[in-house]
């Protein structure tokens, strides 16, 4: 029982078919439950007031935004090495999800920043790195859309994902370097490393789980669509040949 069995499109469709309702249910429970818990049942922060409630969306979106790119990197490598179409299609399916999460991270970061820093946008290293990641997502999606032949598109986008990962990583450190002198101590560093007290941490982890499960749900759904699209293209090509 190896994971490579799911590289077979038919097996993937079968398994994802029965898995999808369960993951969807779990995602809804965690996401709605977590957000409800955080929004209604947690106190305000003495420093940030009620804006601390934005953490329940901002942090999970930010974490997932980066993680999705990493997943795309892994699936791209699998495509290049083992030529499993499901892997390439999963990367293609994941990109818009990652872009949306990154966008949410940016928007919530900016909105959070407004009352805290008095400005709608601040070139905080973290926000800036996210902006750049968003641009990488856009380029990746655009390249898939521009190339006609699916296998060529899969190859080119995989190479782009790999090279892009290196540059995204470099940009993260370049941006930290770039912004060293500014906004010290004012950054929105409320990730798990800082001492977020338990009353916030529990609903936060629930929301992170919710976002993660939402990603799994959507990527399964979207990959199924891509697999169907590929099958349809094959059938149409055969139709044209036999006509």
């Amino acid at each position: 029982m190896s994971i490579w069995e799911y590289a077979n499109p038919k097996k993937f469709m079968q398994t994802s078919g029965w898995l999808l309702p369960w993951v969807t249910g779990l995602a809804l429970v965690c996401l709605i439950g977590g957000l409800f818990w955080g929004f209604f049942l947690t106190p305000d922060d003495y420093k940030q007031g009620s804006t601390v409630k934005i953490i329940y969306i901002h942090v999970p979106a930010a974490i997932l935004g980066t993680s999705v790119w990493f997943m795309m990197l892994v699936t791209s490598l699998i495509w290049l090495i083992r030529r499993h179409h499901v892997s390439a299609l999963a990367a293609k399916a994941a990109a818009p999800i990652g872009l949306t999460f990154t966008l949410i991270g940016l928007v919530t970061g900016a909105i959070w920043g407004q009352p805290m820093w008095g400005t709608w946008w601040a070139w905080d290293p973290r926000l800036t790195a996210f902006l750049i990641l968003g641009l990488f997502y856009l380029g990746y999606i655009a390249l898939w859309a521009a190339v006609d032949d699916p296998d060529t598109a899969a190859d080119l986008t995989s190479v782009l994902c790999i090279v892009g990962s290196v540059f995204a990583f470099l940009s993260r450190y370049a941006v930290l370097f770039w912004n060293q002198g500014l906004h010290q101590g004012a950054s929105l560093s409320l990730d798990a490393q800082e001492n977020v007290s338990d009353v916030y941490a529990w609903p936060l982890w629930t929301c992170i789980a919710g976002f993660l499960l939402l990603f799994v749900t959507l990527v399964l759904l979207r990959t199924r669509t891509e697999v169907r699209a590929r099958r349809m293209a094959a059938l149409l090509a055969r139709e044209r040949r036999l006509a």
Binding site: F136, G139, A142, L143, V159, L160, V163, A174
Partner: protein
């Protein structure tokens, strides 16, 4: 490889080759920014490193889509791919030609434009040094972007979308070197990172670009 390099150089310099286009664009940027931002000398001096670097970036982009596209269209890229010279070598030779035709003139023109933008006196040397170290990265990263989009009609805009985010680290460190050099601060770290990025890109991207070309030639 030398023959290919010289051929690309000659093609670029001849009429219709686009030589000087990048330089002209660089000049335009240096003229338009003060017009847009206002003539206040202090402001211009502060933003000069960044403006010059962004101008260099955009000027490099201009000539990138001809890097492989022309050869792709007339079939020479197929010939180059099957020639004894490895495709990675082809990429290097073309990127080098691009740099000589686009990057190097920028390095030479930059100090003049620095005057126009009121660059602080201490910054001129570091402007030239940072561009010298950084522009080869721009050429080779650009070659990778061009290789990805070579088969596409109107791939130029998409190529810019792909390449510009990859230019960000070079831009940040390059501009930092100039800014810190101009301000008398320590720029060593920035210069080291800039150089490292260039060397890394030169070492690894030809392979990625060659892979992309092979995919597109299938």
């Amino acid at each position: 490889m030398r023959a290919l390099f010289l051929r690309d150089l000659t093609l670029a310099v001849r009429a219709g080759g686009g030589f000087g286009l990048g330089l002209a664009f660089f000049l335009l940027v240096a003229v338009l920014v003060p017009l847009g931002v206002g003539p206040d000398a202090a402001t211009l001096g502060r933003i000069a490193p960044g403006v010059l670097w962004v101008g260099a970036l955009l000027a490099c982009l201009l000539s990138l889509d001809r890097l492989f596209a022309l050869d792709f269209e007339d079939g020479s890229l197929d010939l180059l791919a099957t020639a004894p010279l490895p495709l990675e070598g082809v990429v290097m030779a073309k990127a080098l030609a691009h740099w000589v035709v686009t990057g190097l003139p920028l390095v030479l023109a930059a100090p003049v434009l620095g005057v126009v933008l009121n660059l602080a006196p201490g910054g001129y040397l570091w402007l030239v040094v940072s561009l010298l170290v950084g522009t080869p990265a721009l050429s080779v990263i650009g070659a990778f972007g061009a290789a990805l989009t070579v088969g596409l009609k109107r791939g130029g805009l998409l190529m810019s979308l792909l390449v510009l985010p990859m230019y960000v680290p070079t831009l940040i460190f390059g501009a930092e070197v100039v800014r810190r050099g101009a301000g008398g601060l320590d720029f060593g770290g920035a210069l080291v990172f800039l150089g490292a990025i260039t060397l890394g890109a030169l070492a690894l991207l030809p392979f990625a670009a060659a892979a992309a070309i092979r995919v597109n030639l299938r």
